[in-house]
Symmetry: C2
Subunit: 508 residues, 2 copies
């Protein structure tokens, strides 16, 4: 069944692009003003439509990406669960953060007018689909779901790695939205590479969202930031996700840790942004040997696209050739009927933490089934390693179940440092397999993301596409329903009563 | 008493700058981990210190800025109220948005680990003080207060328009913080122009905040965005704040509207970012004549700095010279003992809305006591004007107390458009005189700000300096106190219980 996906997709003509941008702009005024409940119903309808066509979507995605049925079934479920989760967020309404300041003639700084603040949609959003999640970070993925939930029309630049899956999904999204009464232009697909760049320069686009490489994401971020009117660009780029193991943890469950690590860095053939790319082990650890053995037993698997495979081959060779780097397991490349190569895992040993830190290339993401091990002697090594790693999505620590005093001290000093370099700090688990839930954080300092204050996974992802607007002294008939005194939508609000400000006054 | 402030302030040497940056970085780890209550106490201590020295601060600021005692007394009060307001925000704790996802073996997408999310400080923030608020947007102003509250050390680039006021305030801030136990390096003053730019390029600076001109702010935004690791830059730049008056409102209270408008656009000699710079009146309105008369009666007043006065003179001449623009009141310039000129207001009449929109220069902020009037014939004129205005902090509408059907229809169609172009839509009041309260929004699409999702006034301003971090499966002893099961700080949290996700599953 496998055939090579076309990697160059048809370009939209300037007229076609103009018509898509115009439609999205017209839709923005309407879609953005629908009640949260209306948008929730539309998102649920999209989820239902994708579930109903799940079988054919999965078959198409298997053909185009080489991913397994099991993986794609789980990913499609995640995608529709995500859509329903945002629908629930809309029905709850607290995402609007409605705040009412009551008129207060005795306000400490002089009479205060009636002020009503809420969050409103930014406007049309341009979403770039990722290669590695043909459903969950693609056409109907988290960026699309959160932007539509926020009230923003979406122009979706398809990834050329799964063009037919994208078209099929887009058709389902469009018809479900239409049946649910969403305005024409609420969602549209772009396939052209140049059209994807031109659209980002268009003044009508209000934000961009991207998941992909540092080079690609940075180029787009630079375009978004250097426009005559710069716009927010939510890029989720590269991450090395360092993990460390204490000697207590190794003594207690070394085998389990080795197996868990290999399972995590080779999951999805290493093509996850949460892949643990660096493992820090105590000096003299037995784990490198065991990890190499386990990695050698992982069967080769197809990479997502030829471009990713080429880049991975190049980067892995570059790292393996660094003087002093030992190749513990040398991955091999195999032909695949798709013409996109299959690869097996590579494990590199950089030596000491000092050796690791002396080569910046070892600290950069290598997208694919390759991991780098280094050994630490003292607390300072770990501190130095975590400090030197570029901004990362995650930092992982494996500890003993009952850490002794030395281990407690070692780790206590590292946790805050890890939090300052990442968006998620995790213990005794592995960073792949991200829960899509309210308290999730998928983000981090650059280059993990271009927008450190946000997440691209979990309900808080909706915040990216919202901005505050305050109405001052507005007559009831001119207020959006959500802000009216009668609260016809029954939304949660926080209210600041008159007289509450006297504590702020200077002492007499 | 007036003397010319030095407009070139001493440059820090590279060694001095390095030492300030190093101290801020060291302080960040400590200050950021203090409990919100500790930081609240420190902010209150700063407020108390400024209030205690209020008299001498106000005298110094009068000398340097030419602003009146009344204005500066009010502004200093706003500044200390602001500090206490953020202290209360910290004591309340909901700004941390703590979210707990309980471990859930039956989570719809597979077992979910324990996840705990909160907001953490970004790190050292570089704040550029504004010229026009020597207290409230300067050394101890809203940006400083909100960054310190968030847990970020502040490097404050002083504005050269009030250097001694800045030094005096900085000394009080530093000693109050020190007495309250804040680490050395939590706050420091920069005076050099070049140092202010070099610091923004330094990798240790995690965010920038700025209030000032479009040209200056954009240059700094470009630096922040083009760093090897780009950082958030919260620039509050230019805004024209269009206001419109219906014929019903004019009939009902034309005189009051004319007086209110003149009071607002000439307040602070027109040097407020919320100055209503454009007034849209019904065709044939009597108000332009009355506005010109009232403006001619406003006595000349000193501008803040020579640079601002020069720019204002140049821009006002440029606008007055546009063919078709009628000068209804021609402002005059007068000598002042400070050598910074005094000016009286200028009122320009652009003609019709079509005339106004044909000259982009008329739609750009002119910082000073100048306003542009245009007359509209139909609904479409107002829609066109609001659409054409660059992103703005505010849009104002003056309506009849009991609008007739035609007026209701006219305005209903405009409110959503106004909200899409601005951060605050107000009715029957004027945009100057900003209430500092929870529901305030001071921001808007570019060029009003470089970060449309945020506000620089009101309690929500703290959000700018925070980013989310999630702890996954963390042992209790490694969690920050705020996230521990025992909740020793008594902070508000939202909790996601197990089993709550079953509704999100695909239908069977």
């Amino acid at each position: 069944m496998n055939t090579t996906p076309r990697l160059t997709e048809p370009e939209e003509t300037p007229e076609e692009l103009e018509s898509l941008l115009a439609a999205a702009t017209t839709a923005a005024a309407d879609w953005g003003r629908r009640s949260p409940h209306d948008r929730a119903d539309a998102l649920s309808a999209v989820a239902d439509a994708l579930d109903a066509e799940g079988q054919s979507l999965i078959i198409e995605a298997m053909r185009e990406t080489g991913l397994t049925e099991g993986r794609l079934t789980g990913e499609l479920k995640r995608t529709t669960v995500q859509l329903r989760m945002f629908a629930e967020e809309l029905r709850d309404g607290s995402y609007l953060r409605i705040a009412l300041d009551r008129q207060d003639p005795d306000f400490v700084l002089g009479p205060r007018p009636d002020l009503r603040r809420w969050l409103t949609p930014l406007g049309p959003v341009l979403v770039y689909a990722a290669s590695n999640f043909p459903f969950a970070f693609s056409v109907a993925g988290g960026d699309t779901a959160s932007a539509l939930a926020a009230g923003c029309p979406v122009l979706l630049k398809a990834h050329p790695g799964h063009p037919e899956t994208s078209r099929k999904t887009a058709g389902l999204v469009r018809s479900a939205l239409q049946s649910a009464g969403a305005p024409e232009g609420t969602f549209a697909l772009l396939t052209g590479r140049q059209a994807g760049v031109s659209a980002l320069r268009d003044p009508r686009i209000a934000a961009g969202a991207f998941t992909g490489s540092v080079a690609g994401g940075r180029a787009l971020f630079d375009i978004a930031s250097s426009r005559p009117n710069p716009i927010p660009f939510f890029g989720e780029l590269g991450s090395v996700n360092p993990a460390m193991v204490t000697s207590g943890a190794e003594r207690e469950r070394g085998e389990q840790i080795a197996a868990g690590f290999v399972g995590s860095f080779t999951l999805g053939t290493g093509q996850f942004c949460t892949k643990p790319g660096i493992l820090l082990l105590p000096r003299g650890s037995e784990l490198p040997k065991r990890i190499a053995e386990l990695a050698q037993n992982v069967p080769p698997a197809r990479m997502l696209t030829s471009a990713i495979a080429d880049r991975y081959r190049e980067r892995t060779t570059e790292l393996a050739d660094i003087p002093g780097v030992e190749v513990l397991a040398r991955g091999s490349e195999h032909a695949d009927p798709s013409d996109i190569p299959q690869v097996s895992p590579t494990v590199l040993h950089a030596g000491s933490v000092a050796d690791l830190l002396s080569e910046p290339a070892l600290l950069e993401e290598n997208f694919g089934p390759c991991a780098v091990i280094a050994e630490y002697d003292a607390d300072e090594d770990l501190r130095a390693a975590i400090s030197a790693v570029p901004g990362t999505l995650t930092v992982t620590a494996h500890l003993a179940g009952q850490p002794d005093d030395a281990e407690r001290q070692l780790v206590s000093g590292l946790v805050a440092l890890a939090a300052s370099r990442s968006g998620r700090v995790l213990f005794d688990e592995w960073p792949t397999g991200l829960a899509v839930t309210p308290a999730q954080q998928h983000g981090g300092p650059y280059p993990a993301t271009t927008a450190v204050s946000h997440t691209s996974v979990g309900t808080a992802a909706i915040d990216r596409f919202l901005r505050p607007v305050t109405y001052q002294n507005a007559p009831e008939f001119l207020l959006p329903e959500a802000l009216r005194e009668s609260n016809p939508l029954g939304l949660p609000r926080s209210t600041h009563q008159p007289g509450a400000s006297q504590d702020w006054a200077p002492p007499q």
